[in-house]
């Protein structure tokens, strides 16, 4: 008797769970033409995505489209989640695939082409996909950050390039991320490949290993556990992070800072430029609403919101940067670049070889 009740309860629970979803499911309440009050656009993204309430309200009020965000783990997880659910897309728009993984998205036919009018305000260097399936939205440099105080205190000159890093005086001073797991780790590996070439980068890494480079699995560990200038007070004064991290250190400081405690090393190829893209997911039932959202994302209001929300740069050249960016964030004049196709063809091989060289 008792057990049967349990069973019914469970089934009731499952059913209620299903109906609960059915009510809020995006497909249910769609209008095919025009945007009524109840058009809901679902945007899939990674968990570092952020934006202002004010800005999204602006869009929602103007367009009558309600936007729901679906965050799904880090950059790699989110993309793979989108690829795995390609047959029955969970969302209409995907925000946040970067140039190290773009080829995977394009190969999977994840996106539909959209030649957005906003593209005219975006410099050519960011337009990786000539078919406009993936449209650039933001960018930033993965660079080595250093602890200013450490170098001043020890009267140590800054390393200016990768070659300097191999010198004994910088032994054990750098922490990098595992490229197999971490996105900045992969970007930094690609920078060394770009600089030394596919035949030479392993020698660099062998030398770095010899010099006692530290490797962490994630940016969070590297920055907060290993890096000496972060709040975690770790042992290494140099970390692979972002060119905007010094600005974030100032913006999120406990007490007002006139100067950032960290800065980036901006040598030739020492920074890798990551560009993030947005795309309309193949098979969306709301193409028009999706286009409208992409337009909005490329427009100045959203673009100017990007820096302080996600600490990357807007691609729209009309967008103005906040003061903390102008003062404390840095961009390399000579970032490392590798073609998307080359990355696509060799990413796993390079990671594997790196793992063999540095970790084994």
């Amino acid at each position: 008797m008792k057990k049967i009740n349990l069973l019914t309860l469970l089934i009731a629970l499952l059913l209620s769970a299903c109906t609960l979803t059915a009510e809020s499911s995006p497909e249910e309440n769609q209008l095919e033409s025009g945007f009524g009050d109840d058009v809901i656009l679902t945007v899939m993204t990674h968990d570092s995505f952020a934006l202002s309430e004010k800005v999204i309200e602006l869009f929602e009020n103007e367009s009558g489209i309600k936007v729901e965000f679906l965050a799904s783990g880090d950059t790699g997880s989110a993309l793979n989640k989108a690829i795995l659910t390609k047959e029955a897309p969970l969302a209409d728009v995907f925000y946040g695939v970067d140039n190290t993984f773009l080829s995977r998205a394009l190969a999977a036919d994840l996106f539909e082409s959209y030649a957005a009018p906003g593209l005219k305000n975006i410099p050519e260097e960011f337009k990786f996909d000539p078919e406009n399936r993936a449209l650039p939205v933001d960018y930033g440099d993965v660079c080595i950050n250093y602890d200013k105080a450490y170098f001043a205190e020890n009267d140590l000159p800054l390393p200016e390039n990768f070659e300097d890093l191999m010198k004994p005086e910088y032994a054990e001073l750098l922490v990098v991320e595992n490229p197999a797991i971490s996105s900045p780790g992969l970007a930094f590996l690609l920078a060394t490949v770009a600089h030394f070439g596919p035949d030479g980068y392993l020698d660099f890494w062998a030398a770095m290993k010899e010099g006692g480079v530290s490797v962490a699995n994630s940016w969070e560990s590297a920055y907060y556990t290993n890096f000496s200038a972060s709040s975690g007070r770790g042992p290494q004064p140099m970390v692979v992070s972002y060119g905007t991290s010094p600005a974030a250190e100032v913006y999120f400081a406990e007490t007002e800072l006139s100067e950032a405690p960290t800065a980036s090393i901006l040598g030739p190829d020492t920074c890798f430029r990551q560009v993030e893209f947005i795309g309309i997911l193949t098979g969306t039932q709301q193409r028009a609403a999706a286009e409208r959202f992409v337009d909005f994302v490329l427009d100045v209001d959203f673009q100017e919101d990007i820096p302080l929300q996600m600490f990357v740069y807007p691609v729209n050249s009309d967008a103005e940067l906040p003061e903390v960016f102008l003062k404390h964030a840095e961009l390399s004049d000579q970032p490392a670049t590798i073609s998307m196709d080359e990355i696509a063809a060799n990413r796993e091989v390079w990671i594997q070889a790196w793992t063999e060289t540095v970790l084994k």
């Binding site: 008797m1 057990k3 770790g234 405690p261």
Partner: protein, 584 residues
């Protein structure tokens, strides 16, 4: 009347009562089927179905069983087993005496210390790593004091990214399992059995090995299995504290699935991990079947003692010190850090200037950047609590009937038993992705549903609930029920008046497990939770994903809130007593 006669009449009664269960086969299993149905239905829908969906994507490829794939699997399997065995042994080494301490002795602050040992279980690894770093890191308290004390130039202890860090963290996380599962059995163990053996000439050591240990064997086995499986499928600890040099199956599954999108290899690794889990669970069932089935236990907790002689006092003092160093100190680092500001004077390296501040807590309540995804800490806490509450309810509802079937298992129960442990062997990433693929279209379109998170948590909590309920239910002597039935209690009344009070403590322990599993789960949650319904762990993770002192401080403040919340909950749960049962 002769004794023989008396004995026979008792026997007759027994035959009579057991005859009622000698029914035809379907009838004999009917009870079992009914008890298993909810849980089996649940794990079929929410575990096996998504699992086959995700694994199905990989197994058809030729890469699936290629030598390279097998090589990857073998490489990580070796280390996975090695570290899991070591971690389990160390955890038992700390956990068994700790369980003894809590079950047998009374001392001031016991309830709090006991509650604190359960807190690590639900702390996100990022936060634990921060706590360990603050204590044992190159510039942690310990190293700084040792450097000052011994006048050293470099930190003497280097534990970060070593096997030692992995083992330490596993002990830190999982000792609570031993304390709760074994301690629960120990506190129900009749101390007179030990006394009887002492009087029969057994010294304390032999009394332990011949009486206490065999009687505790089922619960020690259960605890060891749970600890082992947790260590075997460990992810965050390996990733963040072990560092890149160490890779377990679970870490490799994560890399292959989410970074490489190499589903065939991921599927192979997942299947190996599941098969191992199944093997260990079957081994466990076998070993359990060899030990005695029922242990006469008292229904009231044995009288707790304050320390009596010098040896006992030394034991208690040593254990409290160890537990304090192992559990309280690393956790203490977090609340301390959450209220101390590091001064901007960054030139001075060894002695950091600190001052007290409540800034981080204040900041938690401010949506400074006007973010769409800003969530007040109260709301994140409420989300976490809500998910945990649903998890507790669901897992108890489904776990209890299964545990009662397993308390007096028939062949069907024994056969089904190991299946229940399988969810512990599935990687959170695999499960999370499986959910996404399986439940993203009708008939079960749950992907946007907030239910998805507690459903996934229930899958993970269920084995814990069943394992902690089963020994207690098994310990209810049949004669109590018979006595209650004789007094006219219906079977439901019997359950309420006899079974329930006896297993009440075990239910509490099970609920605590389900609660903490849900509060601390991060892997599946990060894939399934909606950004506007973050749990405390996902909120902490969000803070730590950007540089800056305020972010770090807020993460520590949030972690402190999580710790206080869970300490309080556990403290209260364990303080619960049944009305009218003073001894409990």
């Amino acid at each position: 009347m002769s004794t023989r006669k008396v004995a026979k009449s008792a026997e007759k009664k027994k035959v009579f009562s057991s005859r009622s269960s000698h029914l035809s086969v379907p009838f004999r299993y009917r009870d079992s089927i009914l008890r298993w149905a909810p849980a089996l239905l649940f794990i079929s829908i929410f575990f096996f179905y998504p699992l086959t969906k995700i694994l199905g994507l990989g197994v058809n490829s030729s890469v699936f069983l290629s030598p390279e794939s097998l090589q990857i699997a073998l490489d990580s399997l070796g280390f996975t087993l090695y570290q899991a065995v070591l971690s389990m042994l160390l955890t038992l080494l700390v956990g068994l005496p700790a369980a003894y301490l809590f079950a047998r002795y009374d001392f001031r602050g016991k309830a709090l210390l006991r509650a604190l040992t359960a807190v690590p279980f639900m702390l996100p690894t990022v936060v634990v790593a921060a706590g360990f770093n603050a204590l044992l890191g190159p510039r942690g308290w310990l190293n700084l004091s040792l450097m000052n004390l011994l006048d050293l130039d470099s930190p003497p202890i280097n534990i970060l990214y070593t096997l030692g860090a992995i083992l330490l963290a596993h002990v830190f996380y999982n000792t609570t399992i031993v304390i709760r599962v074994v301690g629960n059995a120990l506190s129900r163990l009749d101390p007179r059995l030990i006394e009887a053996s002492r009087l029969l000439g057994a010294d304390p050591w032999r009394a332990f090995w011949r009486i206490t240990f065999p009687l505790l064997r089922p619960s020690i086995l259960a605890a060891a299995l749970l600890v082992f499986l947790f260590d075997f499928t460990s992810f965050g600890v390996i990733l963040l504290l072990g560092g890149p040099k160490f890779s377990t199956l679970e870490v490799e599954i994560y890399i292959q699935t989410l970074q490489m999108l190499n589903l065939p290899v991921a599927a192979l690794l997942s299947i190996i991990q599941l098969l191992c889990t199944l093997t260990f669970s079957i081994l466990y069932s076998r070993m359990l079947a060899q030990t005695s089935t029922q242990v006469a236990q008292q229904d009231t907790e044995s009288r707790l003692r304050r320390s009596k002689n010098k040896r006992e006092r030394i034991f208690i003092f040593t254990m409290i010190t160890i537990l304090f160093a192992l559990f309280v100190l690393p956790m203490l680092a977090l609340p301390l850090r959450s209220v101390s500001r590091l001064e901007a004077d960054r030139g001075d390296r060894a002695d950091l200037q600190t001052s007290l501040t409540s800034d981080y807590y204040n900041e938690l309540f401010i949506n400074r950047r006007g973010s769409r995804f800003y969530v007040p800490p109260i709301e994140a806490a409420l989300n976490s609590l809500e998910y945990a509450g649903i998890t507790v309810a669901l897992s108890l509802l489904m776990g209890f009937p299964v545990a009662s079937a397993l308390a007096k298992p028939n062949r069907m129960d024994r056969f089904l038993d190991p299946l229940l442990m399988l969810p512990l062997g599935a990687s959170a990433v695999t499960l999370g992705l499986g959910f996404i693929i399986a439940f993203s279209r009708p008939p079960l379109n749950l992907i946007a549903s907030p239910w998805l998170v507690p459903l996934a948590h229930t899958i993970i909590a269920l084995p814990f609930v069943i394992r902690s309920l089963q020994p207690a239910l098994a310990s209810i002597p049949q004669r109590y029920r018979e006595a209650a039935a004789m007094l006219g209690a219906s079977s439901l009344r019997t359950w309420f008046t006899v079974d329930f009070p006896i297993v009440f403590r075990a239910v509490l322990a099970a609920a605590t497990f389900a609660f903490t599993v849900s509060l601390g789960e991060f892997g599946a949650t990060s894939l399934l939770a909606r950004p506007d319904f973050p749990t405390i762990p996902t909120a902490i993770y969000r803070f730590l994903s950007q540089p800056g002192g305020l972010n770090y401080g807020q993460a520590m403040a949030m972690a402190t809130i999580l710790m206080i919340l869970t300490t309080l909950s556990i403290f209260l749960i364990e303080k619960l007593r049944l009305p009218g049962r003073g001894g409990w």
